[in-house]
């Protein structure tokens, strides 16, 4: 295998195949482990060529390291109180200063970051997966399944998600893992509708019709022929969902409805710090800045992924569009 046999963004086409002998050709096409490994490697090489994706990934990894290694290095725990230092700026003892009540801003902010990162990751996987499954199933099957699923989508959309989450979150003891299903349950419906609409038009394409008339079963047609066409939408959607989930959690906490004291999240730190933000910017500034950085890194990664993984927007590495 050489690096050049795969044309990025078109690897699902015949053009992307290696064509270096029947064996390899077969491995490329087949659903065997080898074929899958070859395709994954090809895709990874494509991603590595997108500077934005790489930048976002590196930034994200650095933020993860900061969030999870930082507390091990910090001399202060997030629940420690330094009675000798109230409302101080960054110093050797307190790297990001202290809050009004003498808690270490560095430790507090990192604890908030850990929550944000994990919530974003889990919620995006659950909600985008759900959107893809429901949307393609409804669009491809049509009939009563379509009507039932879309009716469920409409119902969830009219259900006041904000109210449900705001009322239920305090009753689940306010620990962050219980926020994941709550947030994910209300993030997938819009995308499911878009996926359904696109599936309906893809369903009538010749290659899909050909597969169906050849007797390929519906789930396989969806996975092999419909989902690759939706990959760009789903990748962008997942990256948006990561940021939406992170923003939703911090927003809820900022309103006092999410993570509750004494535990902290970036949102509650921002809310506590914003009243004195002009005179004493440290708690607000660091929490808000890191929150923005996390979401930025996720968006960079998503944008970069879209540019390389999208099978529909044509050859990118052979000169681009004219």
């Amino acid at each position: 295998m050489t690096a050049d046999v795969v044309t990025c963004a078109t690897e699902h086409d015949s053009r992307g195949g290696p064509g270096q002998g029947p064996d390899e050709e077969f491995a490329w096409r087949s659903g065997t482990l080898l074929g899958r490994a070859i395709r994954t490697a090809a895709r990874a090489r494509c991603v590595a060529r997108s500077r934005r994706a790489v930048a976002g990934l590196i930034l994200l990894v650095l933020l993860f390291v900061l969030a999870f290694v930082g507390p091990l290095v910090s001399p202060w725990g997030w629940d420690d109180t330094d009675f000798a230092a109230f409302r101080q700026g960054p110093s050797v003892h307190h790297w990001m200063g202290t809050t009004q009540s003498g808690r270490d801003v560095f430790a507090l902010t990192l604890r908030g970051m850990q929550k944000s990162l994990l919530i974003g990751l889990f919620v995006a996987v659950v909600s985008t997966g759900l959107a893809a499954a429901v949307g393609t199933a409804a669009g491809f099957a049509g009939g009563w399944l379509d009507r039932t699923l879309m009716w469920g989508v409409d119902l969830l959309l009219v259900l006041p998600s904000f109210l449900v989450i705001a009322v239920l979150a305090p009753q689940t003891a306010g620990t962050w893992p219980t926020l994941v299903p709550l947030l994910a349950a209300f993030l997938w419906m819009i995308t499911a509708r878009v996926v359904r609409a696109m599936t309906i038009s893809l369903r009538e394409r010749e290659y899909v019709l050909a597969a169906r008339f050849l007797g390929v079963r519906a789930p396989r047609v969806i996975v092999r022929h419909i989902l690759p066409q939706l990959a760009s939408l789903l990748v962008v959607d997942a990256s948006v969902n990561v940021s939406v989930a992170i923003l939703a959690e911090s927003g809820l906490s900022a309103l006092g409805l999410g993570v509750r004291p004494p535990d902290v999240s970036l949102g509650s730190l921002i809310a506590d710090g914003q009243s004195g933000a002009t005179a004493y910017p440290w708690p607000f500034g660091f929490a808000a800045g890191l929150l923005v950085l996390i979401v930025l890194a996720v968006n960079l990664l998503g944008d970069g992924l879209r540019d390389v993984l999208d099978p529909a927007s044509g050859p990118r590495w052979t000169g681009g569009e004219t």
Binding site: L157, V158, M198, N299, E321
Partner: protein, 333 residues
């Protein structure tokens, strides 16, 4: 088309009724208005609290089904009940709706229009400086939550006020008391209201812009390479006409679905904006009422929100039908 829309309308009405009922049941089951009376000092006698709660239809010792029946009967006559302090909810709801609409409409229209236009333009100018600027700008904005954006704008506006020595920017509340008594009379009052509206509107417009430009760029990129755009060019259409009439129109089809339901996000953004700028709109009322356990207010606001979202859904269906004729026949299959 008329039959299709009528069917959707019936379907949507059923959903509104269901959603409003579920919201009431959830609020009535989970929120505890009784605590408001018990926290009072001196604590009122049990019998008084009981009678008051029953009169307001907030008594958690009345069976939920009975409370729901009383509430639904009132709503059918356009009466959303009373707050826990005994004020009628309906009148206050309409007043606050006006406050919220002034803010949200301007922000949403500005944000979505600029978002769609600049997003499409960025896709056409892919890789050029304009594209970079728009993409970086919207990525940055998308990463900044509304409650941070509001504080940042306030800090910047405060600096601008200090630098110019004028109070150009105002952001607390809806108006300055006595603004209409100035040299310009009522016109001055109107100007003052506009001034107060400026920063919150910009906050909402920026948030909407980030969302729309990002999606529109993505959709437009999918369309640009399509055969029908090339065909349109080949048959002699100018680049601008081909892109606008064939490209943008097609790229807008998936956007209509988002168009309707970013409305929900818009309402949510309104909550944070109203909180941050001290505007007494519907969103602020909802958050305060949840923490106060004010069941009837929460139910009324959610009724309103459900109607709004479904109205937006209906508009989305119409737009979809106008832009993509296949959907009309597809729905009948």
């Amino acid at each position: 088309m008329a039959a299709f829309l009528l069917r959707r309308l019936v379907n949507y009405t059923a959903l509104v009724v269901l959603a409003a009922s579920l919201a009431y049941l959830l609020a009535a089951a989970a929120l505890k208005p009784r605590a408001n009376f018990e926290d009072r000092a001196p604590r009122p006698p049990e019998a008084v609290v009981e009678a008051q709660l029953t009169r307001l239809n907030l008594n958690d010792r009345t069976p939920l089904a009975d409370r729901y029946r009383t509430w639904a009967g009132g709503v059918l006559h356009g009466d959303f009940g009373r707050t826990w302090q005994g004020e009628p909810v309906t009148a206050e709801l309409w007043r606050r709706l006006g406050v919220s609409l002034r803010l949200l409409l301007a922000g949403a229209v500005l944000g979505s229009a600029f978002g769609i236009l600049l997003g499409a333009y960025a896709a056409i100018a892919r890789g050029r400086a304009a594209d970079r600027l728009i993409t970086v700008g919207s990525s940055l904005l998308l990463a900044v939550p509304v409650f941070v954006l509001a504080v940042l704008l306030q800090i910047v506006a405060g600096k601008a006020n200090d630098a110019t020595g004028l109070r150009v920017f105002e952001w607390v509340g809806e108006s300055t008391p006595g603004a209409s008594d100035g040299p310009f009379g009522p016109l001055g009052g109107l100007g003052d209201r506009f001034r107060h509206l400026l920063l919150p509107t910009v906050t909402i417009a920026l948030a909407q812009f980030a969302l729309y430009s990002r999606y529109q760029r993505s959709m437009m990129l999918d369309v640009l390479q399509a055969d029908f755009v090339r065909t349109a060019r080949a048959k002699g259409l100018r680049r601008r006409a081909a892109l606008l009439r064939h490209g943008l129109r097609t790229a807008l089809i998936p956007m209509t679905t988002y168009f309707a339901y970013t409305f929900g996000l818009l309402l949510l953004g309104g909550v944070f904006t109203e909180k941050a700028f001290g505007r007494h709109g519907v969103g602020e009322w909802l958050v305060d009422s949840i923490s106060r356990g004010d069941v009837n207010v929460v139910a009324a606001v959610n009724c309103l929100a459900a109607c709004g979202v479904l109205l937006a859904g209906l508009v989305s269906d119409v737009l979809y039908g106008v832009l993509d004729p296949r959907v009309r026949t597809g729905a009948a299959v």
